[in-house]
């Protein structure tokens, strides 16, 4: 009896969906008859026009019951072989239903500000997305970029300092890009020119960037705090689009860097797969010798990809210090560079997928905060571990075997 890998994968997702569905019904739905969660579509945080639809009282029992049955149904369908080719989407949908059910349950008896949650998720996803895009671009060219964490920090530091000195967040962003590019250049130098193991180089650069930014911060910034009071980005609404109900305040009432991120995802997704540049980039990552023999300059392509990645990650760092916060703190990237790596993996080295994963991680971060006041039953602190647990599950193959670009992490030398 031969095993069709697609069927096995569908079955695996099916099992997960069924388990989640049953869990939802038993734990979320049944014990909560009569309990109500208030979903408020009001936005307390948007700068511009908040949606005024008001709030809905959602009965926990019925809503989670429906969601649980939905997940269950998806699971059964997957087991029966339906949607073999779309197992990931069906499985993802089931997981999505579970997450919604979880949120409804966790906020039982309280009010959940849905629009705000979405906004915060998107914002939390920004540095993750930019970092993940940095990883995607490098990796597609065959260079493993572990140093994203270092690039974020460098970007954050440069942004804070320059935005303080010039009182312009834009200048801060430019400086952040340069900072990220600098670290990326070192990565490129070490791995493309000097044949250092790429992972080692990445780790070393993280240590270096952390040390350097911490040192400069404590040596300069504590002494001259005016170098660490940057002008920050604030949200501005795009007229017209931001009045779309629900989606408007989420997507179109954000700050500059958020818009840049959204644009970057779209541009890169198109660029990598539909343009000449993207084809050559991928050829270098898959089979550098083949690319070389048709005259593509492999080292240069890799260099440019790495530097581009650095620029993106640098911007992510800028978001941290002059958008999400209003100053630089030592080690403020707090592991986001690694979550970005996880998003890249979960997104299977696609810009679109990476963004999707980053959104999910952003959601978990935002929910942990939103649920903090509530009596959830499990400590909300633990929720902060969700992205990490999810990543481990992803990397262990829940989402099927991950295909790494053929020549990833391999040094390529021409004579």
């Amino acid at each position: 009896m031969t095993g069709d890998p697609l069927v096995t994968r569908a079955r695996r997702f099916g099992t997960v969906a069924i388990v989640l569905g049953v869990f939802t019904i038993v734990v979320f739905a049944i014990p909560n008859a009569g309990v109500v969660t208030t979903l408020s579509l009001e936005s307390r945080l948007a700068g511009g026009a908040g949606s005024q639809i008001g709030s809905i009282d959602v009965p926990v029992l019925w809503s989670t019951l429906v969601l649980g049955l939905g997940a269950l149904a998806l699971g059964v369908a997957l087991w029966m072989g339906r949607w073999r080719d779309h197992a990931i989407r069906a499985g993802g949908a089931a997981i999505g239903l579970f997450v919604i059910a979880f949120l409804l349950w966790a906020a039982r008896g309280e009010t959940l500000f849905v629009v705000d949650l979405a906004r915060l998720s998107l914002r939390a996803a920004v540095p993750l997305t930019l970092g993940a895009l940095a990883g995607v671009v490098s990796e597609r060219a065959g260079v493993v970029n572990i140093a994203i964490e270092g690039q974020l920090l460098m970007g954050a530091f440069m942004a804070a300092v320059l935005a303080s000195v010039t009182e312009s967040p834009m200048m801060g962003t430019v400086a952040a890009i340069l900072g990220g590019v600098a670290i990326a250049a070192m990565l490129g130098l070490l791995s493309v020119k000097f044949d250092t193991d790429q992972i080692v180089a990445g780790v070393v650069l993280i240590v270096f960037a952390t040390g350097l930014t911490s040192f400069l911060a404590s040596q300069w910034l504590t002494v001259s705090p005016d170098m660490n009071s940057p002008a920050t980005f604030s949200a501005f609404a795009i007229p017209g689009l931001s009045s779309i109900p629900i989606l408007g305040p989420i997507l179109f009432d954000q700050s500059f860097l958020v818009y840049v991120t959204l644009a970057a995802v779209i541009i890169l997704q198109y660029g990598v797969f539909k343009t000449r540049w993207g084809l050559r980039l991928r050829s270098v990552g898959e089979h550098p010798k083949a690319a070389d023999t048709v005259g593509i300059n492999v080292p240069r392509t890799r260099w440019l990809a790495v530097l581009l990645g650095g620029a993106l990650a640098g911007m992510g760092g800028a978001f941290l210090s002059i958008d999400a916060a209003s100053s630089f703190t030592e080690e403020m990237s707090g592991g986001k560079g690694f979550i970005a790596l996880a998003a890249m993996l979960a997104g299977r080295y696609n810009p679109r997928g990476a963004f999707g994963a980053a959104l999910v991680f952003g959601l978990s971060e935002a929910s942990a905060r939103a649920l903090q006041g509530f009596d959830v039953g499990i400590p909300s602190t633990l929720l902060l571990a969700t992205p990490y647990v999810v990543t481990i599950l992803v990397v262990s193959g829940l989402i099927g075997r991950l295909r790494i670009p053929g020549a990833s992490a391999q040094h390529y030398s021409t004579e």
């Binding site: 070393v204 350097l212 040192f215 040596q219 400590p379 602190t381 990490y388 481990i392 990397v395 193959g397």
Partner: protein, 407 residues
């Protein structure tokens, strides 16, 4: 089809040139080791790092920064100020670490967890694995050790202490086992899994710091209940140095013997060098992976237990692991994943850390500079090609380059 060997021409066997062929006497080998290009590169790496560090000092010291303001009119002021700052800082660094008895014991104390954490990275390196999970393993080990430490106050030292230490080893080993088994069963890359586990461990630690079972009443500045005296690592020489240093050295010897002489170690090394050939020969990559990572986790766990059972009150606070995970990576890189090198690197970085504190106290240069120095040293060591290029040194065995011939 890549491999770790390149085809050579038929019977034109390549003369290995300066590479060891096993025929040299011990004396020859010693001379080659000390004067060989690798040592030169390492020394130069140090020099480079300290030079860059000097530049950083010059530009961050207050006095020299002031003098920088008018450097065009009176340049000598700047250079004098800079020189003073640099010598002051490095002087404090060296004297702080080695200039007194206290300095030396403090350096050894600081080196203890570094050696263990370094071994925890070096060992898996030999198996071709990258253990970035030191931080999480240290935390787990420290927590396990501390838990045993504060929970059985009645036991005598001779029982309680080893028990706590063993618990620390177990805690770390579990955190090492997880990425190992995941890699073997699912192919999950250990770099990602260990990084994620680090963060999970931190979250768990923070969570315990909210639970009365662990912290008692100390809700204001949360830390775990103090370790019983019977589980404290005894100190020596009237200083803060405890017997942990012996633990670290013994562990180093054990690991060295393990890797160089045991069959299991041989298997791990073969798997690290060529997993396909090892499998074909009947070895088990999975077994080597799990052994290497679990042992490594245990070593890091020991480092954690030294942290929590060691210094004065010890005990578990947020961030007690203090970046040991990454420090371990730098130590292992400097030590080139060999045990003697790792021990030396651990001692060195321990000294740097202590010296750095003195440097901060006396010369006003922030301790983070030490981190930068360490990173720079590693940077240059990890890229010997870079150093050679900078100094136009020859590659170690030019004739070995014939290995790169594709006929």
């Amino acid at each position: 089809m890549s491999s770790d060997m390149q085809p050579t021409l038929d019977d034109e066997r390549v003369d290995p040139g300066e590479r060891l062929t096993g025929e040299e006497s011990l004396r020859d080998r010693l001379i080659m080791a000390v004067t060989g290009p690798n040592v030169t590169v390492t020394i130069l790496a140090f020099v480079m790092a300290f030079v860059v560090g000097a530049v950083l000092i010059a530009f961050s010291d207050e006095a020299s920064r002031e003098a920088l303001g008018y450097v065009t009119s009176r340049p000598s002021d700047f250079f004098t100020a800079a020189w003073d700052a640099i010598t002051g800082a490095y002087g404090a660094l060296i004297s702080g670490a080695l200039g007194s008895g206290t300095g030396i014991t403090e350096s050894l104390l600081a080196a203890t967890p570094l050696i263990l954490a370094g071994l925890a990275v070096a060992l898996p390196f030999r198996a071709g694995l990258f253990n970035i999970g030191g931080e999480g393993q240290v935390i787990a080990g420290g927590m396990f050790a501390a838990y045993v430490g504060f929970n059985f106050p009645g036991l005598p030292l001779v029982v309680h202490l080893p028990l706590a230490v063993a618990a620390g080893f177990v805690g770390g080993a579990i955190m090492g086992f997880i990425p190992g088994i995941l890699k073997v069963r699912t192919g999950a890359h250990e770099v990602i899994v260990t990084i994620m586990l680090n963060n999970i461990a931190i979250v768990l630690l923070d969570w315990t710091l909210t639970l009365p079972t662990f912290i008692g009443n100390a809700t204001l500045s949360p830390k775990w209940l103090p370790i019983a005296d019977s589980a404290d690592l005894p100190t020596m020489f009237g200083s803060r140095l405890n017997i942990g240093i012996f633990m670290a050295l013994v562990a180093a010897v054990v690991i060295h013997v393990f890797m160089e002489r045991s069959a299991r170690g041989f298997e791990i090394e073969a798997v690290g060098l060529n997993p396909t050939a090892a499998t074909t020969a009947g070895m088990s990559v999975g077994r080597a992976t799990i052994w290497a990572l679990t042992l490594a986790g245990g070593l890091a766990g020991l480092a954690g237990s030294v942290q929590t059972l060691g210094v004065s009150d010890g005990g578990v606070t947020a961030g007690f692991s203090g970046g040991l995970g990454f420090d371990g990576i730098t130590v292992a890189l400097l030590g080139r994943s060999r045990v003697p090198g790792t021990v030396m690197a651990g001692l060195l970085f321990g000294a740097l850390e202590v010296g750095g504190r003195a440097m901060q106290a006396e010369a006003g240069i922030n301790l983070d500079l030490v981190g930068v120095l360490q990173a720079l040293i590693i940077l240059f060591v990890a890229a010997p090609a870079l150093v050679r290029w900078l100094f136009r040194l020859d590659r170690p065995s030019r004739r070995a380059k014939a290995k790169e011939v594709t006929a």
